[in-house]
Amino acid sequence: MTPDQSNNVVPGEGVRIIAFLRIWTLFYRRGVIRFMRFWVESLLGPMVSTMLFMTVFTLALGPSDEMAPGLSALQFIAPGLAVFVLSQTAFQNVCFMLIIDKQEGVITDVLMAPLSPIELLFGYSLAGVANALLVALLLLGAMTVFTGPMLYSFAATAFFGISAALLFSMIGVLVGLWSDKWDQFSLVDNFLVLPLGLLSGTFFTLDRIPESWQWLFEANPMFWIISGFRYGITGYGSVEDLIWQGGTLVCLILVMVVCGWLLFKRGYKIKA
């Protein structure tokens, strides 16, 4: 006779693999409250630097330039810039949380709590997603000063915005777990995230690039994100491209989720 396994459940832990309350605690009580406390850096900082960019572009371009048919240069640039800042914020926020927790040793408090690896993964990454989406919303609001109100398809905007935040939060989890020091984080930030964002078609259409180099841009996930997000805001771009770009993006996010889950499960660099 085998003992009834279900009686072995620790009281209060529950039998569900993913518990909403546990994710919520890590996500909200720890993640969101943390970045709201530092709102000057986590919200105001990205806003100010992006608005500076817009101002500089306005002054450098002059009002009459057209980047794509029917779109002024600023209307073309604004959505790309917003979603790039969104991605970078997601990445940086998650990295900061993980690296600080590791360096100060408080990660043990999180590991001791009855959280499964998948809950850890989503608890950390969703805080990054929340910070990123908040920055993007504020930015899009502020940018209407330059561009006038624009929204073509809410569904496409939301889909690509959330996908970008999720993808870069997951990358942030991987990099945050891997980094022992700030050097490793800034290595990835400076030599991967920033180049991906700048060389992505935020600031120009692909026909400005020599044809032999265009594949490099088309293989850049940031390019898919920006094209999709820009389509959602302005309606510029082709829907067929967006479908495969969006599909590939979802696959990429799933791969990242699995990688992040495996790392938390193994306790990579966080458990002795």
Partner: protein, 274 residues
């Protein structure tokens, strides 16, 4: 008798080291510490700024140069390159001195700089010189990297050098003031995000100042970054938006004032000594 003389001699040999008017050894030690500090992480302090600057150049050239735009009688990219170089240099000078002092304060090893027999002016000079060195090294690296892609020419090398040194010195001193004033990393991040970056972005790096509405032209003339970038660019392309003599005199004067303020703060030990 003979033995006593020997002991006497030994005693004079182990007398305290006398320091002249200038503690050259101490000053050199502090300076080389400052330089080694940033060279130790050269991927972050030299490579990253170079890559970022080149990316900015590529992006702005692709986004704006496609219309065969000219500014001040030269291609847009030729106009842009010196300004970007100067922006990077100043940001790095500021980052070096501010982070050096702030990290030392937070970690508590500031006492290692306060305890040795260094006069306040020697301490200020050593740290500031480290920041200037980083700014100039970043500038030189960016310069050589740009030469690979662009026909960079120097119309007035001495003018470029004068403005480069003065600008790096100003930001190194401002960085020291920031580092002394700040008590947390947030404080210095706020100064960088809300003062230094806006001033350097709105300085005429990306556009000629005559693009601005008249009222704003006057405001731009109160921005020290305008003079740095305008004068530095004059050294490259031989054309300036404003009068470069004003900047050439104004910058050293401002530096002198900043030097006295920094020296004063270190002497009194403001936020450095308990």
């Amino acid at each position: 008798m003979c033995r006593m003389a020997l002991i006497d001699q030994k005693l004079t040999q182990i007398a305290p080291r006398t320091i002249g008017r200038v503690n050259t050894l101490g000053l050199w030690t502090l300076y080389s510490r400052e330089v080694k500090r940033f060279l130790n992480v050269f991927t972050q302090t030299l490579m990253a700024p170079v890559i970022t600057t080149l990316l900015f150049l590529a992006v702005f050239a692709l986004a704006l140069g496609g219309l065969s735009r000219t500014v001040g009688g030269v291609d847009y990219i030729t106009f842009l390159a010196p300004g970007l170089m100067m922006m990077t240099m100043t940001q790095n000078s500021f980052a070096n001195t501010s982070s050096s002092i702030l990290i030392a304060k937070v970690q508590g090893n500031i006492v290692d700089i306060l305890m040795p027999p260094l006069a306040p002016w020697e301490m200020a000079l050593g740290i500031a010189a480290g920041g200037i060195t980083r700014g100039l090294m970043v500038g030189l690296t960016v310069f050589f990297a740009m030469m690979l892609f662009l026909p960079v020419s120097l119309a007035h090398p001495l003018s470029a050098l004068w403005f480069a040194i003065n600008a790096c010195m100003m930001l190194a001193l401002l960085g020291m003031l920031g580092g002394i004033w700040a008590q947390k990393y947030d404080h210095i991040a706020a100064v960088t995000n809300f003062i230094i970056t806006p001033l350097s972005f709105l300085s005429g790096t990306f556009y000629s100042i005559d693009r601005l509405p008249d009222a704003w032209v006057a405001v731009a003339h109160f921005n020290p970054f305008f003079y740095m970038i305008d004068g530095f660019r004059y050294g490259f392309i031989g054309h300036a938006d404003g009068n470069i003599m004003i900047g050439a005199i104004l910058l050293p004067v401002v530096n002198l004032i900043l030097w006295f303020v920094t020296h004063r703060l270190i002497t009194t030990g403001y936020r450095l000594k308990a």
